[in-house]
């Protein structure tokens, strides 16, 4: 006579309900293993999702063209007209640029000896730079038409830290070149233009007027030259723009122009984040194996202790198969309880960490479904020998105990 499912479930849970602490402890190993695996898979997926979302926000259509080295090995320069020429390309949406003001150093006060450099680069920047490189302001405000002509600077995220700025208050200054520059704001980290992080940015007119950053164009002195162009291309025509960018920026010596697509590095990193941490995964698997041995051990002890129950059930009409099923189901119940708790713990860990990082929470179906499935399989394997032993027990021998 087949047992109904509800009866089967109740019979399978007899042992678990009778010894809750023991059940808890024996399921713990499985729970830890599954939790580790779910958390590892969930965190790697979530961090990848976070990075992909970031890439999406930043866009993959930004190209940079910078003055590399000339054939002779000197620092090359881009022509003064390069931004305008590149901007004239049909497929180019916008162009921003910076010019390296070499020889200018920045300090918090004039008292620091000039020899102690702090690896902060002073750059002249076009006013549209933040929008083109998709970098926002962490503090204060960006340059405008007026402040671009004044001794006013905006600090990159790293530069601000090095100079000891946490927040921007009116009247704060840095000693730049040989005079005070007011600090207007601090940039956020620029993921697509990380060179800006360690920069102090001023307007081109200010660079010309106060730092003597001049280029000669058509015989007249003008601010410049640009060192790096930041080019937003139409998304479908990035490759086309990339192909002609060097030629357009510097027709006379295109091979002195370095072209790059900064989102490439991020995309590569995203692919790497998707690969999970195999050390933790390995630890999870070890915990599962230890948990399986623990469950098998507990089940064997349980069968020994419950001989009279087994004998009684046979006397009440249980078949060998029903006894076997009972103990197999009990082992699976234990591991599935552990597995479910593990999935919950792994998911909670993922949610907490991902939200902390501002990532979208992604727990792959394979992670939680796999965790539960692994628990079922482990329970079946761990419970097999004890269950067969219970079923083979002769009922009269089982009843003779006590």
């Amino acid at each position: 006579m087949r047992l109904r499912f509800a009866d089967q479930a109740r019979v399978a849970s007899v042992g678990v309900r009778a010894r809750k602490v023991r059940a808890f402890l024996s399921a713990l190993g499985i729970a830890i293993g599954v939790a580790a695996i779910v958390a590892v898979l969930g965190l790697s997926s979530s961090s990848q999702a976070g990075l992909l979302a970031e890439i999406d926000r930043l866009g993959t259509n930004l190209l940079t063209a910078s003055s590399g080295q000339s054939f002779s090995g000197d620092a090359a320069e881009l022509p003064r007209e390069a931004p305008a020429r590149v901007g004239n390309l049909d497929a180019v949406e916008s162009v921003a640029h910076t010019g390296d003001v070499t020889g200018a150093h920045v300090y918090r006060t004039p008292l620091i000896p000039a020899v102690s450099t702090n690896a902060i680069q002073v750059r002249a920047a076009s006013l549209n730079l933040p929008s083109v490189v998709a970098a926002g302001m962490a503090q204060g405000r960006w340059l405008n038409e007026a402040t671009a002509t004044q001794p006013v600077a905006v600090l990159g995220a790293t530069a601000a830290k090095r100079l000891g700025f946490e927040r921007v208050t009116p009247g704060q200054r840095v000693w730049l070149g040989d005079q005070w520059f007011y600090v207007a704001g601090i940039l956020e980290k620029a993921a697509l233009a990380s060179e800006l992080d360690s920069s102090v940015l001023v307007g081109y007119p200010a660079a010309e007027r106060h730092l003597n950053y001049v280029a000669i164009a058509r015989g007249a002195a003008v601010a410049g030259p640009p060192s790096t162009l930041y080019v937003r291309a139409a998304t479908e025509q990035v490759a086309g723009v990339q192909a002609v960018l060097a030629q357009t920026a510097n027709p006379e010596s295109p091979n002195e122009v370095d072209i790059s697509q900064p989102s490439d590095a991020l995309t590569a990193r995203a692919a790497a984040e998707g690969a999970f941490d195999s050390l933790f995964l390995g630890l999870g698997v070890v915990a599962l194996i230890v948990g399986a041995v623990g469950v098998a051990n507990i089940m064997i002890i349980s069968v020994l202790e419950r001989r009279s129950e087994i004998g009684l059930r046979r006397a009440l009409g249980a078949t060998q198969r029903q006894v076997r099923t009972q103990f197999l189901a009990e082992a699976v119940l234990l591991t599935v309880l552990g597995g479910t708790a593990g999935v919950a713990a792994g998911m909670i860990a993922t949610v907490v960490y991902a939200q902390n990082q501002g990532w979208r929470v992604v727990v792959p179906v394979e992670a939680w479904a796999g965790g539960i499935a692994a628990a079922v399989v482990i329970g079946a394997i761990a419970g097999l020998v004890p269950a067969v032993r219970a079923a083979r027990l002769s009922p009269t021998e089982a009843l003779r105990t006590v």
Binding site: M1, R2, L3, R4, A6, D7, V11, V14, R17, A18, S308, E309, G311, L312, R313, R314, A315, L316, G317, A318, T319, Q320, R321, Q322, S394, P395, T396, L399, V402
Partner: protein
Amino acid sequence: MILELAGVTKTYGDVAVLRGIDLRVDEGELVAIVGPSGSGKSTLLHVMGTLERPSGGQVRIRGVDVAGLSDERLADVRARDIGFVFQQFFLSAHATAAENVADGMLYAGVDARTRRRRAAEALDRVGLAHRANFRPAKLSGGERQRVAIARALVGRPAIVLADEPTGNLDSATGGAIVTLLHELHASGATILVITHDHDLASRMPRQVQVLDGRIVGDSHATALR
């Protein structure tokens, strides 16, 4: 004829525990099997209850020779036709009296609702309706054995086999259990009680004496003769 044994033997290795048992039990009988410890009474009960297969001879339950039945079919016979009562009660400590009794029909293919209803009836029959929701730990020894008897009866088996049902009880409580068995017998149940206690056996309508695996006396057979 509920139960019929013909030339039943049981040997363990070269130890012959049962040496040719012939016994017939009719519907509605109350039979005591009495004999000293080690004479093979429990083994006989196990063979009659299909928990153990005989080494030789025939066991018929309601006319069916159980020798040819598979494990599944034997289990079915136990689930429907036989109720067991043991000296040690064998109640589940984690279930109430009613749940313990209902489990008597767990393997008989009866739905849970019917099991609960029949358990309540059976508890009432053994005078424990007021203890239905007690766990065994809260019951006296006599009450526990009543629960076990209710569990044996709940499926309305053809025969109840009781192995030393008063063995763990003091004499007054044991006497009350014997009275209960009489009442159940009076209301139609077929009951076979194993005991080493001659006083107890003498209160039964029929006594079968066992010694060294043989039947050495049967009051019923004498009466018939």
